[in-house]
């Protein structure tokens, strides 16, 4: 197992290097080059020359890349032109929110998706089955931001049940230690703050979790349909095991293997791509920072965030692979 992990980690190196080359090239390919991207079009030639000198842009490309990589390895991705903060600091401030949101969305998607997918498969052909299939197709077809607007309009504005934006009611005087607001609330025993933070996760979490939910329902359903026809399920039944045992040990455990991969991939995507949802819900996470960066052409932040997020994504995928290995003994040995 350890060898497996080490090998997978080693395989990451060329990918990460390639990624850094790509993003390095990206900034240089921007109209006007990095200096203009950073200084704006009003920059005088002297400004640009000074900038180029400061950042070694007058040196050969390879040297520049080496320096870029060196800084990146020290987690230095430059400074956001919009906020004046280090990109890494910005990321660390924003990421906990996105992580909380992702966890909520995935809990929502998994908590509903797996039981629903299971039920649909076991009642194959019933109305539950048909409606969950149709629902899952719709879930993927609805533009996320439209769904987000609808959710907010209905539950936050019309009904007023849930908060429709932000991460926490600003009237609650909450202490923030880790920037994981829910965790902070629990740690400081400010339970009202923690609960409020959870409530703020509900609507964006549902909007964000809809696509994973749809996919999980579909995969679970297909997978359970496959597994219930497997010989070993018949064996388990032939052994006269209790229905619950058959379901738990022989059906669900195996049916969840492909589902777990999906869950992992979707988690990776959510961590990196909540741009639309976070924007609609004014949720202070990575996604809304990315949107702000797009709107303000904050190239340093875009570059740094995309690089970090791609690394996160790759690492999550690695985790998925590893956990798949843990779940499926057949992979482990290979």
């Amino acid at each position: 197992m350890l060898r497996f992990i080490v090998r997978r980690l080693l395989q990451l190196i060329p990918i990460l290097l390639g990624l850094s080359v790509l993003l390095f090239a990206w900034l240089r390919a921007l109209p006007g080059g990095p200096a203009q991207a950073a200084l704006g079009e009003r920059a005088t030639p002297e400004d640009i020359a000074r900038y180029n000198e400061t950042f070694g842009l007058d040196q050969p490309v390879l040297v520049q890349y080496g320096k870029f990589l060196g800084r990146a390895l020290q987690l230095d991705f430059g400074t956001s032109s919009r906020t004046g903060q280090a990109v890494t600091t910005e990321f660390l401030e924003r990421f906990p929110g996105t992580l909380e949101l992702t966890i909520f969305a995935m809990v929502f998607a998994i908590g509903i998706g797996i039981p629903l997918g299971y039920l649909a498969a076991r009642r194959h052909g019933s109305w539950i089955d048909s409606s969950s299939v149709i629902g899952s197709l719709l879930g993927v077809a609805i533009p996320v931001f439209f769904l987000a607007y609808l959710l907010r309009l209905l539950f936050a504005v019309q009904l007023g049940w849930l908060p429709g934006s932000g991460r926490q009611d600003v009237r609650i005087d909450a202490t923030h230690i880790t920037n994981f607001f829910v965790l902070d609330g629990l740690m400081t025993r400010e339970f009202d703050a923690a609960w409020d933070a959870v409530l703020h996760l509900v609507l964006p979490g549902i909007a964000l979790g809809t696509i994973p939910l749809a996919i999980i329902v579909r995969i679970t359903r297909a997978s359970v349909l496959d597994v219930v026809n497997e010989d070993y399920v018949r064996t388990a039944n032939a052994k006269g095991l209790a229905t619950a045992t058959v379901r738990r040990r022989h059906i669900i455990r195996n049916a969840l293997l492909p589902v777990s991969t999906t869950i992992g991939l979707q988690t990776g995507l959510l961590l990196s791509g909540a741009v639309l949802t976070e924007t609609v819900f004014a949720f202070g996470g990575v996604g809304s920072a990315l949107r702000d960066a797009i709107a303000n052409r904050d190239y340093a932040l875009l570059q740094g965030f995309i690089l970090i997020l791609a690394v996160v994504y790759v690492l999550v995928n690695l985790l998925v692979d590893i956990s798949y290995g843990l779940l499926d003994p057949r992979v482990r040995v290979r």
Partner: protein, 314 residues
Amino acid sequence: MTAALGSTRRDKIDELAARAGQVPAGGGGVSLARSAFRRLRRDPVAIIGAVIVVAFLLVAALAPWLAPRDPLEQALLSEVRQGSIPGSREGFPLGVDQLGRDVLSRLIYGSRQSLLIGVVSTVLGAVAGMALGVLAGAFGGWVDTVVMRFVDILLSIPGLLMAISISVLLGQNQYALMIAIAVTQVPVFARLLRGSMLSQRDSDYALAAKALGVKRSRIVLGHVLPNSLSPVIVQATLSLATAIIEAAALSFLGLGDPDISRPEWGAMLSSAQAVLSFAPMLAVYPALCIIVVALGFTLLGESLREALDPKFRR
């Protein structure tokens, strides 16, 4: 409009399908396609998907004849007030938008642009991806390694982030939008085609052709490639749905077509968010169009997948 056309069109499709089914088979590939087609015809899901897709394609093609008005004409602009938009009335069955333009005509013309973005970006992505896939699959060895590593790198950037980066890089115009979406599709097609080709390359008929001394390029282009295409076709159909949704997302992020007068569903949906509170239908109509078309392509793609998959063959 689509509902009215639906029933006659269904007959048309059946007729077409029947005629196509009678074409004499030319070879193995054709008979596979034919049997797949026959299965598709019997699949209600496929028929629903095909009807949706064909209906929208026809609407797009016939937009100038179908649309009751000029989609750019700000006909009722002078009656628009901040906070109230004239509702539907004679000549404006679905009402007008914030600038007094006929919504129905915009939706009809919008199908052109939306489908165009979907089709062009998917074709671009598929062609580029296939080129990479063929390169990797046909040559193998270090070419394969290099190409696939590159594809892995592309895959390591989540789709929307990739599309955003490329839009930012290329500036804002509809071609940039198409390219941005296309690039996100490239790795999928490349992997798919390579995988499919690898399995085809080791298949009996390819080995047999090799044993007979057929040149490698001929084997690849004449045998392996055509037989690897069915997963690509399936993926392309599914990708069309994604592309249309992704275009809407980029529009929403302000990275869409700068010529916002040109009707396009994603742009219509984004701009309607501002008036959601008092004219929600302005958002609902284009959203429905996007959802239905995406659904159509998905249904068609899924049933194609089943039809072409030997596992599902009865």
